[in-house]
């Protein structure tokens, strides 16, 4: 099978993380990692490769430093990596990002399966994979938490739609956006990591795409514009109380329980 996996580099924390041993906040927020949902997508591809002869191509769009995400994918077992990197691609919204991904993927031929994480931990729109499927003219399935291949190469998937889970058998190429629980990503292997150092990353620039009109990419190709950013509205701040633990416990329980009994 020819599989394309789309991955994104994101800041290492979103809400801030705590060191589980020391209980201290990890403040090195500038560190980048591969979006955890995308690692689950890559793991899904690697599991398929264990059963079926496959070639796994990884695509990431970002600055040159995003090449690190591809090196990490190599250490996990990806075959080829493509860094979609051009100044013209910067500042893209959902529309322009998905269009660029489509152009980049199509510049390398066709795939039997496109795998994405269903959302990122930074942008968090969960919309890029759906738009990409549409650009590619493929059916798209989001929220996929189980994927198997049948004897006749069809895909069997379980798609979480909130109140119910839909089990589909799909014939032909499609795009699957996976939930992070589909698989726990493996640890990178030392052997692959060593090998990764010698592996090349192919950079895809505007010149490599079929549509080279720069107005279709990046900020220019985006349909949405951020007009204003502002701090969120707050309600009037109340005096923060600093009671002893016992008093605090009493205050909380009385507030909740007394009101409840009164009604």
């Amino acid at each position: 099978m020819k599989i394309a996996v789309c991955i994104k580099q994101v800041p290492a924390y979103s809400e801030g993380n705590m060191d589980e041993k020391t209980g201290l906040l990890i403040r090195t927020g500038l560190e980048s990692i591969v979006n955890i949902y995308d690692l689950a997508a890559l793991e899904t591809a690697l599991r398929i490769k264990e059963q079926r002869e496959s070639c796994i191509d990884v695509y990431t769009m970002g600055p040159e430093s995003a090449g690190q995400a591809i090196m990490e994918s190599y250490a996990l077992g990806a075959d080829r990596g493509f860094l979609i990197c051009d100044r013209a691609f910067a500042g893209a919204d959902v529309l322009a990002t998905s269009y660029t991904l489509m152009q980049a993927i199509q510049s390398q031929g066709t795939y039997d399966l496109i795998l994405c994480g269903q959302q990122t931990t930074d942008g968090d729109t969960g919309l890029v994979s759906g738009a990409l499927a549409k650009w590619l003219g493929l059916p798209g399935y989001g929220g996929v938490k189980k994927l198997d291949i049948t004897g006749n190469e069809n895909l069997r998937i379980a798609q979480d739609m909130g109140v119910q889970v839909l089990h589909w058998e799909i014939k032909g190429p499609c795009l699957i956006a996976v939930d992070r629980d589909i698989y726990t990503p493996r640890m990178p292997s030392l052997k692959l990591r060593m090998k990764a150092r010698r592996k090349e990353i192919t950079t895809i620039t505007l010149q490599d795409l079929e549509d080279q009109d720069s107005r279709h990419y990046g900020l220019k190709g985006s349909a949405t514009r951020v007009k204003k950013i502002f701090p969120p509205e707050r309600t009037r701040k109340r005096e923060v109380q600093q009671p002893e633990a016992k008093a605090a416990a009493g205050l909380i329980l009385e507030t909740v329980m007394n009101d409840q009994e009164a009604r």
Partner: protein, 336 residues
């Protein structure tokens, strides 16, 4: 569609049983208010097999036209989007509002690509500016700042909204039922076969809970959640969390409060070790009483909390557990 003006608002109607779903009712109310301000049409779009239930709703909600696309079977993005495309080419709405459900996100993104237009996910505010553009407000950059986003050059302007953000009620000035338009369309798909539908076992949900306890990243170890679970059980509360703990895999995503999780509006929300990102607050700001415990005096959550308590949750929770268990112990003692 570039340089197209369009007019009116199209709302995607999702049903829950025979009624409009919660999010659909909220979107219809929002769209109605926006339409009234400049006398534009409000359209609904329904795709599915419960067409009679959908049609009956035109008597209940202030809609001008309901466009129905009948099809059998479960939601499939690559079938549903054909109905959207057909409807949008005919109605030419300036705005398309879609619920931020699994289904809604899948369809919103495909329609955006089909019309080469903008889509803004999980809006928390929707207004019209002086030029008639939809001002879409949502938390951005990790959630500690708000952004107002416009789609100026293309139509429709697509926005998704999560349930619980806008109020549902609307006083209608329209006393006649909306027009129902039945459509035929190409809805075949030979490539996907539904094997079975698995109904999800609903755990005691966050929705409708009167007391919710939310755990944040102040919880140091996974084991410590047991203490919060015990507290929740003793208080008859439901345990939820901020995104941090869900990302760590300590709690299921169904327990997450926030813009990318659930929106809750319980009588009481008690947070422990939640810092209070905009992302989180967007999901709980309508709680009647917010009690926040955090050891950081400057925590954001204190700005919204009705009862802000600066204390160590690892000291407060054991005290609460002790107080809650005490009466039982006394009873036991009397028996002996």
């Amino acid at each position: 569609m570039r340089n197209e003006k369009g007019s009116g608002i199209l709302v995607y109607l999702e049903l829950s049983g025979r009624d409009a779903s919660e999010i659909s009712r909220e979107l219809i109310a929002k769209a109605y208010r926006l339409c009234r301000s400049n006398q534009e049409k409000l359209y609904l779009l329904y795709v599915g097999e419960r067409t009679e239930a959908a049609a009956a709703l035109t008597f209940d909600v202030p809609v001008d036209e309901l466009w129905i696309y009948r099809t059998k079977g479960e939601f499939q993005a690559d079938i549903w989007d054909k109905a959207f495309e057909d409807c949008i080419y005919d109605c030419r709405p300036a705005i398309l509002l879609i619920g931020g459900t699994d289904e809604g996100r899948a369809i919103a993104s495909r329609v955006a690509a089909a019309f080469r237009t903008g889509v803004t996910a999980d809006c928390t505010g929707l207004t019209l500016d002086e030029n008639g553009h939809l001002v879409q407000t949502r938390p951005a950059f990790g959630g500690n700042i708000m952004a107002s986003i416009l789609t100026e050059g293309s139509r429709p302007q697509i926005a998704t909204v999560r349930a619980g953000i806008f109020p549902a009620g609307v006083k209608s000035e329209i006393y006649t039922a909306g027009k129902v338009v039945q459509n035929t369309w190409n809805n075949s798909n030979q490539n996907a076969k539904l094997i079975r539908i698995e109904e999800k076992v609903k755990a005691k949900g966050l929705e409708g809970a009167s007391i919710v306890i939310a755990a944040g990243r102040g919880i140091k170890r996974r084991e410590d959640l047991a203490m919060l679970k015990e507290l929740a059980d003793l208080m008859g509360a439901v345990l939820a969390s901020s995104r941090a703990l869900v990302e760590k895999g300590w709690l299921d995503a169904s327990k997450q409060i926030g813009l990318s999780g659930n929106t809750v509006a319980p009588e009481y929300l008690i947070t422990f070790g939640v810092s209070g990102t905009v992302q989180f607050m967007a999901g709980m700001q309508h709680a009647r009483t917010i009690i926040a415990v955090n050891s950081d005096r400057d925590a954001n959550i204190f700005r919204i909390a009705h009862i802000p308590i600066c204390a160590d949750l690892y000291e407060v929770i054991p005290e609460m557990l002790q107080k809650l268990k005490k009466p039982e112990r006394e009873k036991l003692w009397k028996k002996i």
